[in-house]
Amino acid sequence: MAPITDDHSRRRESDLYAPLFALFGNHSRVFAEVPFFGKHIDLVFGTAALARLYAVETKLRDWRSAFKQAALNQLAAQLSYVALPQRLAGRLAERESSLFASYDVGLIAVGERARILIPAKRNGYFDRRYYRDLKEALNRATKSHKPRDMGVLRDALAKRSRALVLL
């Protein structure tokens, strides 16, 4: 089977962010580059009181590493997604749907708009202690950080800064 790849029309993962913000538009809290056990969750969307957290891992090509990180994010977020460029996501939805389903990881296709192709599910790996720790970290960030726009985040990512950004 030929490896699943995509066109390279999008150059940076952050190019996927704007359609994702629209998709999760009803969630008032958005965080980028959220530290999580030595790694960073690309995006975390939350309801106002952070009662529910949605983790999103974005990648342009290496979907397997995004999938792995998304599966690990399930420890702290109720729902966890992988967001990929439209064509790649479409092919994965055809060929790897059982993998996504068996791990309860959701799949989002990002083109002009973002669309959920495979819904995420909450599973038994969700751990309240991890969730509580993440929620506390996000609450602290809300108090200590100023909300930034996408331009600031892009600059930070371009400089390889992995500091949490409140959007």
Binding site: F37, G38, R64, K68, A71, L72, L75, D127
Partner: protein, 430 residues
Amino acid sequence: MPLPNDPGPWCFYRLGPTKEKELFKRRRDAYDAVIVPAHIASYYSAFCAEFIGSLQKPYLIDPMTYLFASDPPLLKRFVKDRKTGRTVRDTTGRKKKGDLKRSFSKLVEQHYGGLIETVGGEDRPLTAQDLSGTTAADELVGRVVEFQTKLLSELPEKYRKYEKYVLKQGKPASGGANPPMCVVPPYFSLNGSDVPAWLVVNVNLLVRTKAKTTLPVFPVILAGYQSLSLNAALFISKYAEAEPDGYLLWVDGFSSDQDVGALTAVFGFVERLAKTGKPVILLYGDAFSLVLHFAGLRGFGCGICYAERKASTQDVDVEGLIPPRYYVSLLKKKIQIATEARRIDFSQYPDLRCDCAVCKRNPDPGTLDDTESREHFMLTRKAEIDALRAGADQAAFSAALERAFTKYRNDPLLSPVQQLRNWATVLTGE
């Protein structure tokens, strides 16, 4: 203590955090020897003398002299804010460096002194030129050899009473002496443009060290894999001329997940060096050292489940804790316990099940604490070494790596495992 008696590969553990003390004692059958870094031996000399004496295992002291020829900031500690305890950063966001790290200042002031102290005072690195004269080289060797042969070599009084049991077994009494298994000459990196000059210095220091001790002398060859590959014949012939009793090899910054070219270069160098007939011990090595056994490697060292690779340019002031990791023997890799091990359902992977005492007691790797995961590492590594000692052959070892790769290459949580195929390729030469 003399060199280990067991056949290779010998397992060396590097003395690190004090919380490992109990593990070293409880699992003393799981390793062959101990490496004590010079600054630890110097800063905690009373503890180390007592500890090494109590272990009754072969040990060596790594003199760590390469650091004095590195950029001076490498030896300095990070400045901490007294109120917050956080590292202070400069205006560009870089961590601010302060004085010489205390353990190294004690090593310099109380033991190495002389030239090392002089260049430190001038805040510059030692150069090959500094050591080109007979007096400077001789003085440095004298101090480094004395440090290694005296500091930890007195058996603490309370252990001397056990001598009667040694005598009962018909073994020679130590007379209270506990010398290292070998003396390590001062050594410096063989990377960069100054390789010829430093090679001359290193070999000269080796010759002078041999003249100052009756103990076996093992020089450290410190170089990146490219330098080793490029200069293999030169390095091996120059060191061999000085007739050392064995070699400590530090492949600078090398890690076993590098490409086949890098792995093959290291395998080839070890093979050539081992053909001199002297024991070759890797100063820092991970599970790839098991592969290097087939190239003739006699032993390898690391921390207990950490420090299996090291770059000579690494800061000595390491910040942050290493998250507990679980070693998966079949895949020859470690996974983070807090995330990966908790997310992986090990009941779905019967062939990854571990039979060590720790895992029998606690079969879910996701629930192991730091000490348990390190103990598991020691026991698992011992089992791997025992398999080699029992005569596991190269073809079978390579086939096992290939099988594990084929099975787990696409596993979403356990991949990447490309290193397994790369290692198999090195062994089969295909």
